[in-house]
Amino acid sequence: MILSRRHLSLAAGMAAAVALTAGALIASTAEASPAAPASVGALAPGFTGTNSNGESVSLADFAGKTVVLEWTNDGCPFVKKHYADPPLNMQSLQKSASADDIVWLSVISSRPGSQGHVSPEEANALTTSRGAAPAHVILDESGDIGRLFGAKTTPHMYIVTPEGTLVYDGAIDSVPSARVDDIAKAENYVSAALADVGAGKPVATPSTKPYGCAVKY
């Protein structure tokens, strides 16, 4: 039987190509399996985003510091409630966090064209006009970071310890409403959790049901 060398190398080449495709398939299936979602008590998922000044911001940049993540959408009435003046609820939380060397990240996951989606300039203008004091405003228009944490509403709050552990996931406070009057009646879960973290204690209420508008993915 005359099997030319070319014939053999062609067959070998094809087999190799198919084997490579198979390998790529296995690799991509492995990657396609959903990453473990953020869960309280576990390490917070790492992420890198772009802030309103065009700089790259990673969770890893803040290792050693407590980090607060706030999902926000300035058009959402529940967000408006907490930024209302008075009582400047969110702004004072941000300022007191900053004073305690806590990193506050406001994340906007609204897709382009939806409520709350803003340009970097608009984001900075909003920060100024509302007297807000986040360390960074992260523009997440793809929604990747939001999905990574499983953010459902605006506001939706997360707290990460200096060691990188997620210790709070949920609502900003205990009264789900869009009424400014209710802020005074509510127990603020975020300031309570931050106090626990600061005192080196486990967070008393680590997980609550967030309330607000749906994140505009």
């Binding site: 039987m1 070319r6 014939h7 198919v18 009435p77 989606h117 999905r147 749906a214 993915y217």
Partner: protein, 711 residues
């Protein structure tokens, strides 16, 4: 683009700012709210129904008592001027809500659009005189794509005296109270030992055949957006629930079951499920999700788009799976026939001919896969289930396939030539024959390749088998195209075909050599005939093979009479063995099961057996296999039957169960479907004490299995 979005965002912002302004003026709300009552006048001590009636603008919705992932339920806040004690005014009766898929698969809300009436009981104090008055603020969040909190001042004043009914309002309130879920007449249990949880609902006579169920929880124990795959049986139905990340059940799981039957008003049942095992007879068969917004393919436009994306992904994997199918040993000999055809075409110097060869071949493969999809859909329609490889469970089909393989072997050997032989170089007749030959090769490759469910195809098929018809067709098309793709590329890309070797005598030799895999395939198929229909059928298949050779021999003698006799013999060669092989299934199933297991030396699988073994505290390994499944045999040889693995099983006291799918077995088919697998192999591993198994990869390794057993 960004500019457009920015302008859009600014416009949206200014709109919402305007909305805020408009909100200050009470006439621009997105819903009308009013209080109504089923009385014109009330008597002291009387209990009657009042209601908050909400009429929403088009596209806007308000929420149920549990709003789901986002949103807030409406409420009535009593204000000064109300002359009834707070205790006199009861809670809202919440009509059955519908799903509001805000972001498909990610954010799900529960609520109402158009109109809704929240009735509530009111009890008039015995000492009431003059008139009773309810003055309140309806406080509600109303959403479209954006949300707006609104309030509306509402009031109701009723003179106290002899009771007089308000027929019109009473009828309206009554109609909405009729939509409030009633207590479930049967029993509800939640099996939460393993994820996903199973909510099992038992009631006399079960649910209607076409009933679609959805569970709406009062709290947030479960993931709201997750699909709730439904199963049913004669005693009721069950839903698979995905727990929320932090979801645990304290005491009972409470909520509402919405039952949708086509052509009828949906019905709601209030349930309080205690923790426990799934009721028997509530999870026997899978129920396809058909309702918009309830199934995996949501009813919302956005949902459909995502559904198509998922189908596209599946089709892509099916394409790659199809390419890999080329490597399957049962396809390779057929493909080599094709390769020879290509060498011929290249030698004839016509690039066009090479292209047409590739196209005809692709046509043949794709058409066969399309036919397979059609058959699968028809079978699914007829039986409610379909499993790939089923054609190899039908003895007559296998007998005929055996003879086809034998005939192809004879042809490869050069015993006879098909019209427009591939050996003929050049000439228009050969060219036409080549095209037909390529087409036929494509069909043959697909028919032989389809049962070889490669490990990669299994997952895609399993995912698609319960999908709507277009998805099934799309995936099968992609798979067929993938299978034909390597050769299509080879025939189209200039230069590549020049790498094909020059034709020569080696081709004949090679072609004849390829006859042996065909004969071996025939032998393998014959062994399946034996296990399906017994020795008699094998005998008749061999007689058929002899008749086949006789017919060909006779046909070559020439002469009209001889040719006619040859044709009759040829037909008989195929038909008679098929008839003989078609023995009643029941009479052979026992013996074949015994024979196979005898060779394997292990116990037969059944769900009860698994339960019994688990109850004894033993870990369980289940091998879903079939004698016609090549991957199964490979895994058996390289892993399961090896001494190392056998010893590991023995040391860990593993109960090794075999589910033999060589013949169609509804119990095994159900289990495959439950695990979203299209066919065998499937390997399940229940660690000691576990109630839900781990599904192992379709390609096993010794390390993997031993690691599981010892770990």
């Amino acid at each position: 683009m960004t500019g457009f979005f920015r302008r859009f965002a600014v416009a949206a912002l200014s709109l919402s700012a305007l909305a805020g302004l408009a909100h200050a003026q009470m006439d621009a709300r997105r819903a009308e709210a009013e209080l109504i009552a089923d009385r014109v006048t009330v008597a002291p001590g009387d209990t009657f129904y009042a209601a908050l009636k909400m009429t929403m603008d088009d596209g806007w919705h308000i929420y149920w008592r549990n709003a789901g992932d986002a949103g807030l339920p409406p409420r009535l806040i009593l204000k000064d001027g109300t002359n009834l004690p707070e205790a006199a005014i009861g809670e809202f009766l919440w009509p059955l809500p519908h799903l509001i898929p805000v972001v498909e698969g990610e954010i799900m809300d529960y609520g109402y659009d158009d109109q809704v009436v929240f009735a509530f009981p009111v009890t008039i104090p015995k000492d009431a005189i003059g008139q009773v008055q309810i003055v309140a603020e309806a406080d509600y969040l109303i959403c479209e794509s954006i949300c707006i909190p609104e309030t509306a001042d509402v009031s109701l004043t009723l003179p106290v005296g002899a009771p007089v009914e308000n027929a019109k309002a009473g009828a309206e309130i009554g109609a909405w109270i009729a939509r409030v879920p009633v207590a479930f007449g049967g029993e509800a249990r939640i099996a939460d030992a393993a994820e996903p949880w199973t909510l099992s609902l038992r009631q006399e006579d079960g649910f209607p055949e076409s009933a679609q169920l959805r569970f709406f929880p009062y709290q947030h124990e479960i993931s709201h957006p997750a699909a709730q795959p439904q199963r049913a049986g004669p005693e009721g139905a069950s839903l698979s629930l995905t727990p929320d990340r932090a979801g645990t059940i304290e005491g009972t799981l409470d909520g509402v079951i919405r039952v949708d039957v086509p052509g009828a008003e949906p019905v709601g049942y209030e349930i309080s499920a205690s923790r426990g095992e799934v009721f028997a007879g509530t999870a026997d068969r899978e129920v396809q999700s058909a309702l918009p917004g309830i199934g995996r393919l949501g009813g919302a436009a956005e949902g459909n788009a995502l559904g198509w994306q998922r189908i596209a992904t599946l089709a892509f994997f099916a394409l790659i799976g199809g390419i890999i199918l080329n490597l399957m040993p049962c396809v390779l000999p057929v493909l080599s026939m094709k390769a020879i055809g290509m060498v011929q075409a290249a030698a004839s110097g016509h690039a066009g001919e090479l292209k047409s060869h590739g196209l005809w071949y692709t046509g043949g493969v794709v058409l066969s896969f399309l036919a397979l999809a059609g058959v699968l859909l028809l079978v699914r329609q007829a039986t409610g289930s379909a499993t790939l490889g089923f054609q190899l469970q039908h003895a007559p089909t296998v007998a005929v396939l055996t003879l086809v393989m034998f005939a192809v072997g004879l042809w490869l050997m050069g015993f006879f030539e098909l019209g427009g032989s591939v050996q003929n170089l050049g000439g228009s007749l050969a060219r036409r024959g080549g095209a037909a030959g390529a087409f036929f090769t494509g069909i043959l490759a697909a028919v032989v390749g389809a049962p070889c469910v490669g490990p990669f195809l299994g997952a895609a098929l399993g995912a698609v088998i319960g999908q709507p018809a277009p998805a099934v067709v799309a995936v099968f098309l992609a798979m067929g195209f993938g299978m034909a793709l390597p050769f299509l590329i080879l025939s189209f890309v200039p230069g590549l075909h020049r790498m094909l070797p020059k034709p020569g005598k080696w081709m004949d030799t090679l072609k004849q050599a390829f006859a042996f895999p065909m004969f071996l395939t025939a032998a393998w198929l014959l062994s399946i005939v034996a296990s399906l229909a017994g020795a008699g059928a094998v005998g008749w298949t061999l007689v058929g093979a002899t008749t086949l050779v006789f017919a060909i021999w006779l046909g070559r003698q020439g002469g009209a009479v001889r040719k006619a006799v040859a044709a009759v013999a040829l037909a008989a060669a195929f038909i008679y063995p098929a008839v003989q092989a078609n023995v009643p299934e029941a009479s052979v199933s026992g013996s074949s099961q015994g024979a196979f297991n005898g060779n394997y030396g292990e116990a037969a699988w059944s769900p009860d057996m698994v339960e019994a073994m688990l109850a004894e505290g033993r870990p369980v390994f289940v091998d879903f296999t079939a004698s016609w499944c090549a991957s199964c045999q490979v895994n058996k040889l390289t892993t399961l039957k090896t001494r190392k693995v056998q010893e590991a099983f023995k040391n860990a006291n593993v109960a090794f169960l075999v589910a033999d799918f060589t013949q169609k077995d509804p119990m095994i088919a159900d289990e495959l479907k439950l695990r979203a697998r299209a066919g065998v192999p499937m390997y399940l591993w229940y660690p000691a004490g576990a109630s839900e198994p781990q599904i192992l990869p379709e390609l096993l390794t010794q390390e993997l299995v031993i690691g599981l057993v010892e770990g």
